[in-house]
Every structure is written in C-alpha cells, then in structure tokens.
C-alpha cells in the first residue's frame, strides 16, 4: 500500500505530532485534506484575527471590497455613518455570492439570483415577491427578515489595516499582536497610506509552507543570491528575530552597521544608503534612511496568513490565501505614505523590482515551496528537520542564522489546532 493511501485512511483527529515537538513538521500537514478542513474551522474561523483589506480601499460610504478568510468569501463594507462591516459574502437565501467584484461602490448589497437585498451592514432589507404576485405565492406569514442576514464577522482597524474574526471571544487586535509586534507595525504603517500597486501570484503549495518560508531567515542569503551576485554591499548583517509572546507572529530585522557618511547626506537624509554594487542600473537600489533606529530590512508576520515587508524603502503587505490543500494565492500590496515626495515615491517604485512575482531578490519563493510540496507528498509520515539555531522557541536578537521563528509558527499552530 502506498504511503499516500495509508495516510488517507487515518483520521485527522488521530494525528499525533512527533515526540521531538516543533523541531519536526510532519509532511502530512501539507497534503492532508482532512487537516486542511480542520484548519478552516480552528484557525480561519477560530480565535484569530484575519487581514481583510486596507481602510483606504473602502474610504467612502457604500464602498465594498471582497476577500477571503481561509476559503470563506467575505465582503467588507463602509456604511453611511463611516462604520466598517464585514460579512460572509453569501446570500442567506440560496448561498450565492452577493458581491462579485473586487471593489465597488453601491447603495445596498443585492444578490443577483433572487434579488434579496441587504443593507451595507448585512441586514436583510428586502425580499423580492415577499407578499407574492397578485395575492399568490410569497413567503409564509411568519417569515422574519431579522432571522436572515449576511453572517457578520467582528471587525477592527489597526494602523490602516482592517482585520476580521469569526470568534466571539477574542482579545482586541493590538493585544492579539502583543506590544512588540504592535509597536513595529505602528512604526511602519502608523500614518496615512497610499497604495502604489498590487498583484498576486499563484504558488503551488500548502499555505503553511509559505508561512514557514516567511519566518525562515536561514534561507535568505542561500536561496536568494541576487545581493551576493551583484556584490551589493549591504552593510546590514547585524540583525535578529523577535517572537511575539505566544510565538505566533515574528519580526526579522537587519540593521545597517554604522558607517562614515558624508555630512551632506546625513543632513539631507536622502540617498544616504548608497549601496555599492556591480549593477548596470544602480538606480534600483537608490534609497533613503526613513527611520532613526537603523533598521533597513524587516519582515514581520502576523498569524495566520499575512506579512509586512519593509526592505530599504519598499513597504508592502503580503497576504496569502489558501486556495486548496496545495494551492496558495499570494497577494502583494505595495504601499507608500501620503506624505511621500515624488522622489521618495519613485524610489519605492524602483525598489518594487526586488520583490513580488518577478522580484530580483526573492522570486525563488514562488517555486521553492512547490519544490517542497512535490518532494514531500509521497511520504506524509516523514517530517522536516528544524533545528537551526537550536531547539528553543525564543527570540534571537543577535543572529538570523536560526529557524526559531519557524518553530514559533508550529508552536502556535499546534496550540490552536489542538495537535
């Protein structure tokens, strides 16, 4: 009997984590449809805050934006009082999608199938032919519209991001993030934002392989050789990993080492990060120092499926949505600030070449997780080995040659999944 068939016969509830704990991740986690189904329930519809969209995407009354929480279709709206709502994007009648576009501006939400009509907060407003036609047909006497609304999510805005949750009892977003994570998000997103562009990428792997990949600072200079190939003198090898209290989220940062800078650069705070390189188009790495803490590269994850990147001046949100047990859609939302000058904006635009579906530095992440997916699917009972930097699950403030954040992810995952 092939290992795949055998695994199919085990119930997900019988799943046992290997005794080595979070230094092992059984390959079955990436291929088992039963586990995938449980994740929808325990993670995405469980006690987590899920990134939905940005405040500025639904700026005006009547704006809506569709997304997914796990695989559940969700619509986020702004009502006439400026309040944000999120609902399952599924008509209470027959279950059809109510909103079909990515974004729109509407007076109310209307299902195209039988014209059931909802307020912007998801309350059922009108049912076509409720009283029948010429006295015939119609809904029963006891039909109560209050019992048939779009299923609401709890929503909260934090630093321009809208989060939603299905959980009834959960702390607020800031507490969910923890003080260290929240304060770094405020550093990066705590001022009016501007969207500079978006795209998405289909990666052919389980969503958790990308969640691991984002937390894996060990692979950065090994798989991604752009900087070394072009002899980019980054001067920023000093860095570390901070884990949130519950280990779910992480921050990986690199700091430029102190260097002698020309006085005029320091004063102007422009072009001070002059990166020497063998590039024919050095404009790619033109950068300015935005913050006083010296951190020039950071990747910050928020459990379960989002990340904020700030590499040089390239600020982006990455949101990765599960699209089946072995498919993930990775969204790139490139940002700037309202206050950016034209010159700053154009540096952000140039640096967008470093990441994304065609990112010079990181395009390998589009295929590497698929290589793991393909390499592991025949052996669900074997596990990956995650002991770089030791077996602990603690912050490592002086080195990024560690897999501590990957262990942190599995620590959080085991907890919420009950594995």
């Amino acid at each position: 009997m092939s290992p795949t068939v055998q695994a199919g016969r085990n119930e997900a509830s019988e799943f046992r984590w290997p005794p080595q704990g979070v230094t092992r991740a059984p390959y079955r986690l990436f291929t088992d449809p039963e586990i995938y189904k449980l994740e929808q329930e325990r993670i995405f519809r469980g006690k987590t805050w899920n990134f939905l969209c940005l405040d500025i995407e639904i700026q005006n009354a009547g704006d809506y934006r569709t997304t997914t929480v796990g695989e559940t279709p969700v619509v986020v709206t702004r009502d006439r009082d400026g309040k944000i709502h999120a609902m399952v994007n599924r008509c209470a009648h027959k279950g059809a999608l109510v909103c079909l576009k990515k974004k729109d501006n509407v007076a109310s939400l209307s299902c195209v199938y039988h014209a059931w009509n909802y307020e912007l907060d998801g309350k059922l407003k009108g049912v076509a032919f409720r009283n029948g036609v010429r006295g015939q047909g119609g809904m029963p006497e006891d039909f109560d519209p209050a019992q048939h609304r779009l299923r609401p999510l709890r929503v909260e805005s934090f630093c321009g991001m809208v989060f939603g949750t299905f959980a009834d009892e959960i702390e607020d977003v800031e507490t969910y993030l923890g003080p260290e994570m929240a304060s770094f998000i405020k550093r990066n997103l705590g001022r009016p934002l501007r969207i500079l562009g978006t795209h998405s990428q289909m990666i052919h792997n389980n969503w958790k392989l990308y969640a691991e990949n984002l937390r894996d600072s060990y692979h950065a200079t090994l798989l991604h050789t752009f900087y070394t190939t072009f002899k980019v003198n980054r001067l920023d090898m000093d860095g570390g990993i901070t884990l949130s209290e519950r280990k779910w989220h992480h921050l990986s940062f690199a700091r430029r080492a102190k260097m002698q800078e020309a006085v005029e650069y320091v004063e102007a705070k422009v072009h001070s990060a002059n990166y020497e390189s063998a590039l024919d188009g050095p404009g790619l790495l033109e950068a300015w120092e935005e913050f006083d803490d010296g951190i020039t590269h950071s990747i910050q994850t928020v459990f379960p499926n989002m990340c904020i990147q700030f590499t040089l001046n390239s600020l982006a949100i990455r949101f990765f949505a599960p699209r089946g047990v072995d498919q993930t859609e990775l969204f790139w939302i490139y940002l700037g600030y309202e206050r950016d000058t034209e010159e700053q904006s154009s540096m952000r635009v140039m640096q967008s070449n470093l990441t994304g579906a065609a990112g010079l530095v990181s395009l390998e992440d589009g295929c590497i997780n698929e290589f793991v997916q393909r390499g592991t699917r025949a052996d669900p009972d074997q596990s990956s080995f995650i002991e770089m930097g030791g077996r602990e699950v603690e912050s490592e403030r002086n080195s990024r040659a560690t897999e501590t954040a990957v262990r942190g992810f599995w620590h959080g995952y085991r907890h919420i999944m009950g594995f």
Partner: protein
C-alpha cells in the same frame, strides 16, 4: 551651412510600420528562443520596460510586476536570470495579434498596440497559458535601428502563475 552638413545627420525620421511589426516579431522570437542576452538590445538606452496588470494600469498605479528604466536595469535582469535567480527551467511561445497603429505622440516615434498570448512550457512537459494581454509600444530609430523607447506589457490577469523571470 557646410558645418552642419559635415556632421552626421541626426536620424529624425520615424520608423515605418513594417519596421515596427518586424521589431515586435523579432523580439518575441528572440525571447522564445531564449536569446536573452539580446533582449536589452531591442530597447533604446533610456527606454522604459514596464510589466503591469490591467487593474494597476487602469487605476494609474505606478507599481506593477517589473519596471526597468534604462537598458542597464534590463541587463541586470538578464544577468540575474543567468547567474542569480533559481527557478524551474521553462520556455515561452508568443502568439501576437496584428498590431494596431495609434495616433503618433511625436514625429519620431510610432505607437502600436498588439495583443499577445504566451504559452509556457515547463521542463516536465507541462504547457500552460501563462500570460494574456497587450503590448503598448513606442518605437523609434536609434543608431539606424528600430528600437522600443517604451514597452508597456499589460497583463489581463492580476495573477501570475509561480513567477516571472523571462521577460514577456
């Protein structure tokens, strides 16, 4: 007067429509045949090559998927392709529709729009419709050769399968 004629005349004539179509075709065949070294030579030295999505383009947003300003950035992409980036080997086959010539924006450039479809073949033999969209081109004569001064590649889909490392 003689002084002026002594110097080589600066080429000011716009390319012909045939030259534009030949350039668009030669570019596609060169990429399809994996002659990527030649890719930057299809552009003027200060050209813009921009790959974006219909959604970004229509919203007037500056970031798409690839943005090269000048041939140097294109050469870096080629060098990265050969020596830095890691990916599963694959090739493209372009199918390009008949070009529509647009109102000229200057007397030295010709503007054209051409629809394209690109089928990607992986080393495993798998073939996929990888990209569908349109080229918006501005072609000029530089050093006697027709070249793209601007090539904006607008993808119909917001979604890229796996990654883009070979230019579209």
């Amino acid at each position: 007067m003689h002084n002026v004629l002594d110097k080589p005349l600066k080429q000011v004539a716009a390319p012909t429509r045939d030259q534009v179509v030949d350039l668009i075709t030669a570019y596609a065949h060169s990429v399809d045949d994996m002659r990527l070294d030649a890719w930057p030579q299809f552009f003027t030295s200060d050209a813009l090559y921009h790959v974006t999505t219909r959604e970004n383009h229509e919203a007037g947003l500056p970031i798409g998927v690839v943005r090269c300003v000048g041939r140097g950035m294109m050469q870096d992409r080629v060098k990265a392709f050969y020596s830095a980036n890691i990916f599963e080997p694959h090739t493209y086959s372009h199918m390009i529709g008949r070009s529509e010539f647009l109102e000229p924006t200057s007397d030295v450039a010709i503007s054209a729009r051409s629809n394209f479809q690109i089928v990607r073949t992986m080393e495993t033999g798998r073939m996929d419709l990888f990209a569908v969209g349109k080229y918006l081109d501005e072609v000029v004569i530089e050093d006697g050769q027709p070249c793209f001064r601007k090539r904006v590649v607008i993808l119909d889909s917001r979604n890229v399968d796996i990654l883009i490392v070979i230019p579209l």
